[in-house]
Symmetry: C2
Subunit: 156 residues, 2 copies
Amino acid sequence: MQNKLHLDKLDYQIIQEMMVNAEVSYADLGKKLFVSGGTIHVRIKKLEDSGIVQGRRLAVDLKALGYDVVAFIGIYLEKSSMYDAVAKELKKIPQVVRVNYTTGNYGMFIEIVCKDIQQLRYVLHDELQKIKGIDRTETIISLEESFSRNVIIATD
Amino acid sequence: MQNKLHLDKLDYQIIQEMMVNAEVSYADLGKKLFVSGGTIHVRIKKLEDSGIVQGRRLAVDLKALGYDVVAFIGIYLEKSSMYDAVAKELKKIPQVVRVNYTTGNYGMFIEIVCKDIQQLRYVLHDELQKIKGIDRTETIISLEESFSRNVIIATD
DNA sequence: ATTGAAAGAGTCTCAGT
DNA sequence: ACTGAGACTCTTTCAAT
């Protein structure tokens, strides 16, 4: 997990390509980027050893799996010092997929994914409200996701 | 992309495991779930054909790559009918990674990832403000991400 | 650091159950 | 629908540059 590591254009190109599609073979990706498959392999190994590349994940269409309801929730904390304790409780709720400590109106900002509105209601009303340190919450429900993608990294 | 497809416990288990780590071999995953590697292969093929599994992605530590600044932005639209046009413009901005049409105060809610505060300022001030249809925006900056994970799917 | 080839490991297909 | 084995492809290692 060292961090002082010089990345060149090829490294950035490999990351950019494989963030979108990690199924491409090293030989094919090498052809596209004008190096050998062996070089792709060495670079990816370097990126994995340095911790920049953390692994490969299956990309799943949650909507097709029945997880239709995405909501963003702003949380007002009683005291901002309670952030860590509240985050720990939130992690126990399976539907909570992301927790951020934030500036602005809310002390924290979270994202939850549910199978339906009933489950959302349950999480909001029964799960969140009983966590000590949460004052009140504001819910933003996503009616439609236009797009979701990785940041487009600069390749130089 | 057919959608009426019965998934059993094994399918859900495979998805759950490989959402976290897609590098495991079919033989090893089969051992863990008490079936053969061939069966894992058939199930994954079925999930890919149905569109539930969309591919494999490289998981990258954006912070280690220098993308330190994550912000959520609530956008007030002049008219909600302008949503599609605004979304299209937002897609042209590389730092915008997610766009949602939402209920609540904001007509839309987006996420952006930047290399530093200067870049955030540029996106907020120069890029967003010149999009027709955006009335005003409210920015929530993430000071720290407690965690980010996939939804924990029910395996039955 | 990159290459190309050989060794090793994994995926994919298929006949049998 | 699952299994195990064979064919095939990819990753990984390594000697040479």
